[in-house]
Every structure is written in structure tokens, then in C-alpha cells.
Amino acid sequence: MSLGRYVLTRISVAVPVLLGVTALTFSFIHALPGDPIDALVGFRSVSPATEASIRAEYHLDRPLWEQYLLWLRNVLVLEFGESPVTGRNVAATVGRRLPATLALGGAAWLLALAIGVPTGIVAAVRRGGPADELSRLAALAGIATPNFWLGLVLLLVFGVRLGWVRVIPPDAPLASPAMAKFMLLPTITLGTASAAVVTRLLRSSMIAELDAAYVRTARAKGLRERTVILKHVLRNALLPVVTITGLQLAFLIDGAVVVERIFSWPGMGRLLVRSILQRDYPVIQAGVLLVGVSIVLANLLVDIVYAVLDPRIRY
């Protein structure tokens, strides 16, 4: 199958999933107990005139499928209406929070790779040795540590006891030295579990590759071990790490919800939790939709990148 055909097939699978994601998000407001109008006005008592205008705005008098299509049309142009709780534009609110979460998630992902890849290589090369065992224990501990707890403990030690970092974000733009310094602890908190997963995954895929015939050939022709590992084995072993990027994204978003709350980080996760507690359903809807769509698109992208990197995958 040519690359073009493969990409088209993948997209044709992703489209119904995207539609399903939007349908599920749409039905969210209708699944709530009671009249959806209550959720849309923020559970206050409003004048009949306001209620009528909101009913008209969300087309609540139309059949459900029609409401869905009309909603979908608005979603495609990023029109989510206004939050009944804060009165602000939902799309703008979400958009303002997004960069902070992207920065945090990106930093954590980089940290996970920066720790996970070297550790995974060492663990695979020194298989069964003390370094391998140590990395296994560290990875297990990293997976088992609840991220909210790790965040709290880091905050306690470095923020409260030692006083090296602030406990709330500085009032500075996102791309500033003060913010970068503050971001250190959230990044570590968020990245630890991912680093552990990357380590273990890379280790097992490296071990599988180390047995391959081409490794023996490379050694036989007198390449230095370093070259064999870094140039030959690692490149092949990294593919499974690429595949889990979509999963990692989901994992990091989950983590961000918790970590942002601990560090008062002005991101999507904190917005979501606050919206749940305030019953600000249009904001929840927009946030959840954004998360769902980005994960589907990320998985699509990963599959395509994978097919470009490894022609065997296009069957």
C-alpha cells in the first residue's frame, strides 16, 4: 500500500471516531439530571425572557439530532457560547488556559525522554546487572507514586522547608525566567511517571533488538559498541516509544489535571476541576471536547509518522 493510500485509510477510520467524540461530548449536557437549560444558565433562577433566549440560542426546542448538527456547526468554527457562571466567552477562556498546559505537558514530556531514554539504554545494555535492577526499582517507584502526593511532598520540601521556590506561580508572563523556575517542580511531578514508563518500554524493546542479526553483523564488522547501540539498536528500539505518544498525551493530561491544582498552575486542568465544582458545564464540555479531539488527532499523527519511519507498517 502506498503511503498516500495508507494515510487516507487511517483518516477514514479517524473521522467516525471524531464524530463519536463530538456526539459523546454533546450528549454530556443532556445526560445531566434535570433539564439541560439548568446547566446552561448555571443553576440560577432566570427570567423567562432570558430562558427563552437561551433555549433559542441552543435550539433546545428542536429534535436532538438537529441540535447536535447545529452544535457541531458551531463547534467547527470554535463557537461555544458564554459561560453561565463567569459570563465570559468559553472558547476564549479555554484558549487562554491552553498555552500554560501545553508548556507544562511539553516540558514534562521532554523531561520524561531526557530521563527515560538514557536510563532505558543503560538498563538494556547492562541487563541483569545492578544498574538494571536499580532502574527497575526506580521505575516501579515512579509508577506507584501518586503524582498529587509527589507534588505535595516536593512543594513541602523545596517550597515550604527550604524556600527555594515559590508555592504559587509568580505574576509573570509564561515565557519568563521567573516562570521557568517555578515550572521546575510541576514538570518533575508530571514527568516522573512518564519517565518510568519510557524507561521500561525502551528497555524491553532494546533487549528485543539486541538479539537481532544485524546487531551481530554490526559488531562483526568491527564497529565500536557505542556506535552499535546508539546508531543501530536505539533507532529501531525507539519506534515503540513513538507509538505510545498518544497514550502518553492522555497520561500527561490526566496528570496535568492534578498537578495544576497542586501548584495553582493556570492551565486547562485547573479550569476543568474548577468548572466541575462550579457546575460550569459549557466550559467542561469545551475542555473535554478539546482533549478528546487532540488525542484522536495525536494518534492519527503518530500512525502516519510511524508509517513514514517504518515502511513495514503499511500493510
Partner: protein, 379 residues
């Protein structure tokens, strides 16, 4: 023997090792089943519903090895062999010990009483916890650890040690109940999707794909937003997020198992599909699901605790480990470290133990698969 006797009216296929109910020893079929006949022979034997669980699992274990010879020797069931391997695994046994100790502590933390209209039946009278976990001001508020309060007290002066002990109840039951129910949903759906294929498969798997687009915690938060808070609502939220993983994993395994000769043979013998699925397909495809489910107890506990921490799990004053941490941040900024540290260590220990056990289960059930496929840990 709970044999359904095949009707004599219809034509029967005579298969070696299948004809005699008396020779129902696992070793028999395996020694007979050499070469071409082995899959059919083992299939025929497993096809018969037997009352004895040992002889039921024996041949299926043999069917997995290509030549049809039992690696375990005659009379050893697959589960017994797995338990042997598991017991030799020291780290896994350490994990199991930790879980057992925590379970015992949780059960005996406070007396368990069942009270109906006017009777109160005490099921378990022992009380390891020195104080009532819900009783405020048994000591000064936010007191550091001391002899009276080994883990200190929280903001309301409640004894942390008692709360951590009792908190184990919520964590253990939520983990166990949510994973069992999720298995109960995911396993049948995954088996049906994989076995029948076609539009049934399409519908189930598209639903799985859609749910998979949402991260675990986000989906759970969404469900909690709809249902509200409480123990069973929390369990429902965790089941909604949990079943998809099992369905997907089992479907993939079933796809390969259903092409095996023993399934074809069972079909040729006219065994109904539901029996084939239950007796031949699922037992041979379930191994990775069991491993995943074990590891998932950890994930579920972490998610439940995270929800508790966010104030979206059980009621805020419940002595659940996650919920105990939700006020931890404020106490922490005032320098009360003990409020955070002890419930966190409890969660950490439990999840670590579950992961050790999960690795052990993996090695015991499926020695050929690499133990460290950590993709599953993320779900």
C-alpha cells in the same frame, strides 16, 4: 460427570482420546494426541463439559503448546503450575504480603457491624484503630506524630493513624469492585466482538475507540459530574473508564484464538457458539487480560485517590486516602507535613505492591512474554 450425551441418531465423528469418559485424565489426551490429531483431540476433550476443574484446564494448557504435549506433566493444571511459578517469585510474594497485611489491617481497623431495624450483628469485633476515624478533636488539631497519635492529627483534630487504617477499606474495596465489574463488562463484549466479527465488532470497537479518546481521569471526572459523588457512583465512573481496556485487549487475543484448529473442530462438532466462547476461546485468550486487570487495580486506586484529592470522589470528610490529601495542601503550606505524608505512603505502598504482584502474575501465567511491556500500566 456432567456429560451431555451426544445424540446417537446423528453421525458422530470418532476422535482419538474423546470417546471414553473413564480415561478422563489430562495426561491421556496428550499422549494420544501426537501429530495431526492433537488439536482435534485436545479440542474434543476440552469440548466436553466436565465437573472436575483440574481436567478442564489441563488439556487447554496442553493445547497452547504446538505439539500438544503437556509441559507440566500429567495431572497438573495450568493454574497450579502458575501458582508454583508465582510462589518462587520473591518480589511478587513480597507484594502479595503487603496487600494481605493491608487487607487484614483494613478489616480489623474498626468493628464491622450490620444493623437492621432493631438488631445489630457484629461481624468483626476487633478494633485496631485507637480512635473513631470520624470523631473530631480527639487531640489537638494538626498535632505532629506522638505516642498518642502515631501519625499525628489532621485539621479537625482527628486521629490520622485511625483514618489511614480505615481508609484502606475504601481503597481496597473500590479497587477490587471496580476492576471486577469492569471485567464483567469488558470480557463478554471483547469476546463477542472478536469471535463474531462483522457489524457487532464494528459497533463495539468504535465505541471503545471513542471512549479511548478520553483520558482515564477526564472520563471519570465527566461521569462523576453527571452522576454526583458517592461510593457506587465512583465505582460506576471507574467501570465506565475501565472496561474498554479489557474489551480491546481480549478482542485482539480472541482474533487469533478463533482461528485455531480446536475452535474449528469444536464448531464442526456442532457445539453452540456461546459454549465455544466460554469454554475454549476465553480461557485461551484471557491471560493478558488477567495481567492487565491485576495491574489495573493500581491504576484504579490511583484514579480514585486522585478524584478524592480533587474533591470529586467520596464525600470530603470520608477517611479515604485521596480525600485525606485534598486538604493536605493547605495544611502543608502551614508546615504540617504529617497530614500529607502518611496517607500518601499508604497509597504508594499499595500501588507498588499491586505492580509487583502484576509482574509476578505476568511471569507466572505467560513466561514467554516479556514482563516489562509497560504500555498497559498507563491504562
Amino acid at each position: 460427570m456432567s456429560d451431555r450425551r451426544p445424540t446417537t441418531d446423528r453421525g458422530r465423528i470418532r476422535i482419538v482420546g474423546f470417546e471414553d469418559a473413564d480415561s478422563d485424565r489430562p495426561g491421556d489426551a496428550n499422549s494420544n494426541g501426537d501429530g495431526d490429531e492433537s488439536p482435534a483431540a485436545t479440542a474434543g476433550r476440552t469440548a466436553r463439559p466436565t465437573a472436575d476443574p483440574e481436567s478442564r484446564t489441563g488439556p487447554t494448557a496442553a493445547a497452547r503448546s504446538p505439539s500438544g504435549t503437556a509441559l507440566e506433566g500429567p495431572g497438573r493444571s495450568r493454574s497450579a503450575g502458575a501458582w508454583q511459578r508465582f510462589r518462587r517469585n520473591r518480589t511478587a510474594m513480597a507484594g502479595l504480603t503487603i496487600i494481605a497485611v493491608m487487607a487484614v489491617l483494613a478489616v480489623f481497623a474498626r468493628p464491622i457491624e450490620v444493623s437492621t431495624a432493631e438488631y445489630t450483628i457484629t461481624l468483626q469485633p476487633v478494633s485496631l484503630a485507637p480512635y473513631d476515624p470520624a470523631q473530631p478533636f480527639v487531640g489537638p488539631a494538626n498535632a505532629p506524630p506522638s505516642w498518642d497519635h502515631p501519625f499525628g492529627t489532621d485539621w479537625a483534630g482527628r486521629d490520622q493513624f485511625s483514618r489511614v487504617l480505615v481508609g484502606g477499606r475504601y481503597t481496597l474495596t473500590v479497587g477490587l469492585v471496580a476492576v471486577s465489574l469492569a471485567l464483567g463488562v469488558g470480557v463478554p463484549l471483547g469476546a463477542i466482538a472478536g469471535y463474531f466479527g462483522g457489524w457487532v465488532d464494528e459497533i463495539i470497537m468504535r465505541l471503545v475507540d471513542v471512549l479511548y479518546a478520553f483520558p482515564f481521569l477526564i472520563l471519570a471526572i465527566g461521569t462523576v459530574a453527571i452522576l454526583g459523588r458517592g461510593f457506587w457512583k465512583l465505582v460506576v465512573a471507574l467501570v465506565v473508564t475501565g472496561w474498554i481496556g479489557y474489551a480491546r485487549l481480549l478482542r485482539g487475543e480472541v482474533l487469533s484464538v478463533r482461528e485455531r484448529e480446536y475452535v474449528t473442530a469444536a464448531r464442526a462438532l456442532g457445539i453452540p457458539d456461546r459454549t465455544i466462547i466460554r469454554r475454549h476461546v476465553v480461557p485461551n485468550a484471557i491471560t493478558p487480560v488477567v495481567v492487565q486487570a491485576t495491574l489495573n487495580v493500581g491504576t484504579v486506586v490511583l484514579t480514585a485517590a486522585a478524584l478524592g484529592f480533587l474533591g470529586l470522589g467520596l464525600e470530603a470528610d470520608t477517611a479515604e486516602w485521596g480525600a485525606m490529601l485534598s486538604r493536605g495542601r493547605d495544611s502543608l503550606l502551614q508546615g504540617h507535613w504529617h497530614v500529607t505524608v502518611f496517607p500518601g505512603i499508604a497509597i504508594f505502598l499499595f500501588v507498588l505492591a499491586i505492580n509487583l504482584v502484576g509482574d509476578g502474575v505476568n511471569d507466572a501465567l505467560d513466561p514467554h512474554r516479556d514482563a516489562s511491556d509497560d504500555r498497559r500500566r498507563m491504562r
